[in-house]
Structures are given as structure tokens and as C-alpha cells.
Amino acid sequence: MDFRLTEEQELLRDGLGKFLAARYGLASSRAAAKTRPGWQPAIWRAFAEELGILAAPLPESAGGIGGGPVEVMVIAEELGRALVIEPYIDVVVVAGGLLRRSPSARAAAVLADLGEGDAIVALAAGEPADGDRWNVLSTNVVRDGGDWVITGTKTVVMAAPLATHLLITARTAGTPGETTGIALFLTEFDAAAPPAGVEVHTYRTIDDRQAADLVFTELRLPAEALIAEDAWPSLELARDQGAAAVCAEAVGAIRTVLADTVAYCKQRQQFGQPIGGFQVLQHRMVDMYLELEQAVAAAYLATLKLDAEPAVRARAVSAAKVTVGTAARFVGQNAVQLHGGMGMTEELAVGHYFKRLTALQYEFGSTDAHRARYAHLTRG
């Protein structure tokens, strides 16, 4: 039993933490979110060239450092602490993982570009009526001569507006809900100049990120666009990896929010004393702290079982996502409450963190979806 980070992992954490403290301002990043292009390409470039974190989870053969779940956890927590909106988890952890597990040479080439910051890959998996499950998939694909022809609608495709490539899930056989017959396609993409057969609606999310709805109407792709034929096991793993990383990101955000709240309550005077002196608020902040510590433990649980066999992994990730989702809601809501009206404005950091802590409760499976999966897996 050992919860210590290795020296390399500590260096990774400290290097990223220092970089973000020096270069990633909350005000400037929010301003960037609200104007075109909606993110900071220079930061992404620095992630690749100065920090090397875009390649961190990649094998050394792809120019990476062969980082595993713990490296991803360390990185995600720092990104959460600084409320980074650039899509690290969506692109590097989730899409990168799918590319890495594909036997296709094209996937390997795009993965190498991703690690260097030259490719940004968005996963188009979620659908409007999928009930929070990627296997409830109605986008279908048919063979036409040497081509693949895809028709269907994907919603809230994170990072699509900045993507150079799309990963698309589509059904070759079966009905929504089945886990067989799900294939994965890789294609070049530019939201500003979409190919024939793709309708793009880009937008900002409630947590200031970039996303899009994509409508495919007989999108025609060449044979080699297929990068995984029976993609469900890899997709399920990608979703769990995404959920585990979001847990770590949440821990970073919760740490910041709790520290801000404690500091505010020490400084804010009402009734002739700091409001932190009132026992009812002290207990509330202690409860926030208890939620944080459980979230930290839950993030470890998910991270350390991410490489286990699927059923063990799924159970750990669901337990973690439920714990972290609950903590994110409690801490976010109470941080706003204890900041009073100021907590509801965009003028203090807490409001921005609250929005992220709201959105992440639903990412890669909502709290309720994971609770249901946990119940199912532990029914015996």
C-alpha cells in the first residue's frame, strides 16, 4: 500500500502547477472562452512543447513518456485547480486512448500528431436520446462499394469546434443498446469548413468550453477511416478513463473552492466579526472538507483500478464518480452560499468553479447513471 508519488510524478505535478500559476489567468482564459476561437491555442502549444503533457499518456514508441493512470490523475488535478478549459481529458485521455488501442496505422500517425499538439481529436459518441449510454447508438453506417456511409446525429461533441480530426461511433449492425456492432471511424475535420454530409452547430458550454452538435447525412468516408471494428470494449474503457480523470480534475477544483471559501469567511465581516466565526458556517466548511477528502480517496480508487479487468474497473470508476459527483454538488453549492451574492457573479473565481463543478457531475456518465451501474455490477 503506497500513496506516494514517484519523483518523476512530483516533478510533473510541480512543473505543471508552476506553469499554470504563471501563465494561466482565470480572467484571461474566461475572456478567451467568450470570443473567437474560444480557447487559447498558445497554451495548448505550450502543453505540447514546454510541458510535454499532450504526449504524457502515450507510449514511448509514439513519442510519449508511457505515463499511466497516476500521471493522468496528477495532470488532471492540476488542470482542475487552475480551471483550465482547454480540452485535455476529452482529447488526450479519451480520444488519445481510443487511437492508442486501435490497430490502424492511421490512428497511430494521428496519435503522434496529437502528442505534438498538431492534431486535436474530438470524439463524437453522445447522441440526443442515448440516456447517457454510448451503446444506445442510432447513428448507422453502411458499406457502399469501397466507402463507408454514415448517417446520424451527435450532440455535445466536446472540442469539435477546435478539432482537426473526429472519431465517430456508428452502428454496423444491431439495435440501440447492444454493445456489438459498434464501429469507430477516424476522419479529418474542420468545423469552419465541414465536409459534404456534415452539418455543424458550434457553441460554448455552460462551463465555458467549446462543443458542437453534428448531423451526418450520408457522410462518405474511405475504407481506411474504419479504425476499430468492434469498438465497444475500447469505448467503455475510454469512458471510464475519462470519468476517472474528471474525478481528479474535480478534486483540484474542489481544493481551490474550499480554500477560497475558508479565506473569504475569515475575511468577510458581519455582525462585528468574521463570518467564519459562526459555528453553523464552520460546520458547513468542515462538511465541505469531508466531501473533499472522500473525493480524493475516490479519485485514487478509480485511478488505481483503471488497469484492472473491466468489471473491477467499472465498479471502482462508478463508485468514484458517484462520490465525486456528490462532493462537487455539495461543495459547489455551499461555496456559492457562503460567498453570498458575490458567489453568484462572474467577478470572483468561485462562480466559475461552480459552473465547472456543475457540468462535470454529468460528464462521462452522470452521478445517477454511475450509481445505477454500480448497483447493477454489485447485485451478485
Binding site: 457553441y203 455552460i206 458556517l281 456559492v336 451574492g341 458567489g343 453568484m344 457573479t345 445517477d368
Partner: protein, 402 residues
Amino acid sequence: MDLTWSEQDLAFRDEVRTFLDEKLTPDLRQAGRLMTSVYADHEASMAWQAILHERGWAAPAWPVEHGGCDWTLTQHYIFSRECALAGTPSLSPMGISMVAHAIIAFGTPDQKDYFLPRILTREVFFCQGYSEPESGSDLASLSMAAVRDGDDLVCTGSKIWTTHAAEANWIFALVRTDRTGRKQQGITFLLIDMRSPGIEIRPLVMTSGEEVQTQIFFDSVRVPVSNVIGVIDDGWTVAKYLLEFERGGGAAAPALQVMTERIAAEAGDLLDNPGFAAKLADVRIRTEVLEILEYRVLTTVTEGGNPGTASSMLKVLSTELSQAITELAMEAAGPARRVYQPHATRPGGPVADYQPPADGYVSGLPWQAVAPLRYFNDRAGSIYAGSNEIQRNILAKATLGL
């Protein structure tokens, strides 16, 4: 003891329904249905007030001689309920439901004659100046100065969390006229013309992106002493009276009931999910119980009493229930809850830094677009009008004697 409605009550309900069917235009219905907070789109709210006023129903709770309605308690309740069920845009509470009650109870005949009819006709639109940057929960510590100079009070200081300040032409404010006694003494309840020189408004951008709340700066603003409501230095008495109106005595349950019914109607397959179904049942049960509680408190109010600490109880219960319902709406909304698209909603004010898509595209349905904004804005419920921590303190002290 009776919870059923009489024949006359049912006839009144039908009268209200017919009126709403006839007068509530599609635009007004939409403005009501797509509200992102307790505040409706200002234009729609004003348009609806004009329609209600024409019928004599803009301020039913006022005494009849000032334009109120001679309704029974049940009729008041039926009216609120039918409006909520029909999805009318809300009316701004600051004039009709708040300062008017202070003017009625404490105002001079001249003040009543001037303000009450103009509030009804919208010629006077009030905003509220209570909180200050350093005086929130501890409202009585407020320090905005009002110094006597001849027949004027000269006001200097700042108010914050003022809703619709830019739309208002009057503000009712608590100002400090004396600093020698206890903090509750030396406060004066003052009506200030917003067109007076020396007033500056700074909008506050909320997490929803909306600019409905503001901070107001007063720099040597001259206000005639005749604009004081009640007695100089004894404004706290007026404020306490009003806070009890602000906190309770209304009917929140019907609107909450409509919110739960909409979730039930829109949730689709989620209703087969036992976890979700249990949560929905829970908020519906709380709403039904709140309705009876409100009914009981409303009895006191319509019989001429002040709701007292019961308003604290209703404030805590209704705002926390409303927050639970907005959480559930987020869960029901599906993937579109993540999308920021205020153009698909009818917010209570302008939205900062937002460019709607040129083609007007909406991801999902409008109610799904409302869900996150309503969830964000509804966090205010447990903060405004005396935070719920303060309400619990009041209940501990005044009700339980602790």
C-alpha cells in the same frame, strides 16, 4: 376546516381561466414558460401588468380603496395558482408586493395618492436598495449616509444586488440618518427618484451571464425629506414589516407545482428509472405539503395579520424546494443541459458577452436550455431576502426561544 373549493370558488376559477385564455398572448406565455429566474423578461412583465391592471387584478392583495380586490383567501390562492398553471410572466415584486405595502401601512395620504396609482399604471417602477457591499446578512449595519440639509437628505454611499435598477425610475432605500445609537436605530426608509443627479449604476454579471442585478453608487444625491416613509431614524420598523412580506405570505407552491409537472411531462423514459422517479415523487410531495402550509399562513395575512416568523419558515422551505426542483430539471434535461444558449430562453435582463448563432440554432428543446440557467440563478433563493442561515437564526430565537 375544509380544503375543498365551493361552487363559487370553482366559478371564480373558471372566470380567471377564461381571462387568462383570452389575454395571455403566445409571446407572454413563452416569456413565462422560458423564465430563467424568478424575474421575467422586463417588457413582457410590464405588458402583462398592463393587462392585469385593465381588469383590476394587478395588485389583488392591496386594500380595495387603493385598487386591490375584495377576494376571499381562497380566491387569492386560486388566482395565484391559475396564473402559475397558465405560465404567466411574473410581475416585479418590488413595487406592488413590497414598497406598496410599506406606503399603505406607513405612508402619508400624499404619498399614497402619488405612488400607489402610479405603481399600478407602471408610471412608477421601483427597485430596492437594502444590501450594501459590507452589509448583507447584517443588514442593520448599513452605512449609506443621508445627511440633513434644509428640506433635503443628501445621500452618499452604495447599494448592491438591486434588481432592474436600469429599468426603475424610483428606488426604496434604507439609509443611515443617525450613527449614535444601536445599529437598528438611525435608519431611515427613503424613496429616491432614480433620475436624480449623482446616481450611477454598475451591472453585475451573474454565473448565468445575465445582468439583472446591479450595484448603485450615490454621490451627494439630494432627496426631499417628504420622501421619507414613516419616521426619520425609525426605518427599521418599516423594513422589518416589509421583509416579512418579502419572505413569505405569498404562494410559491403553485409555481413549484408547475415546475414539477413540467419535469414529469418532459422526462420521458427517465420516469421508468426508479431513482429518478423517487426524486420526482419526493419534490412533488414537498410541494403538496408546502401548499397547505402556505394556505395556513395566507389565512393570517388575508385576515389582516403579519406573517411574522412563519414567513421565515416558508422562505426556507420554498427556496430549498425550488433549488431541489431545479437540480432535478438539470437531471431530466439530458445532454443539452451542458449547452449555453440563453437565446433559447427569456431571461430577466440582458446577457453579457454572448453572440447567439446566426441561424438561431437550439440544441435540444427550449426547456432544456432553461435548465442550467435556472439552476444557476436559483442559488440566489437561499441567499436573498435574508439568507436561509439568517432565517434559521430567526426561527431558533423567535419561534423556539433558544
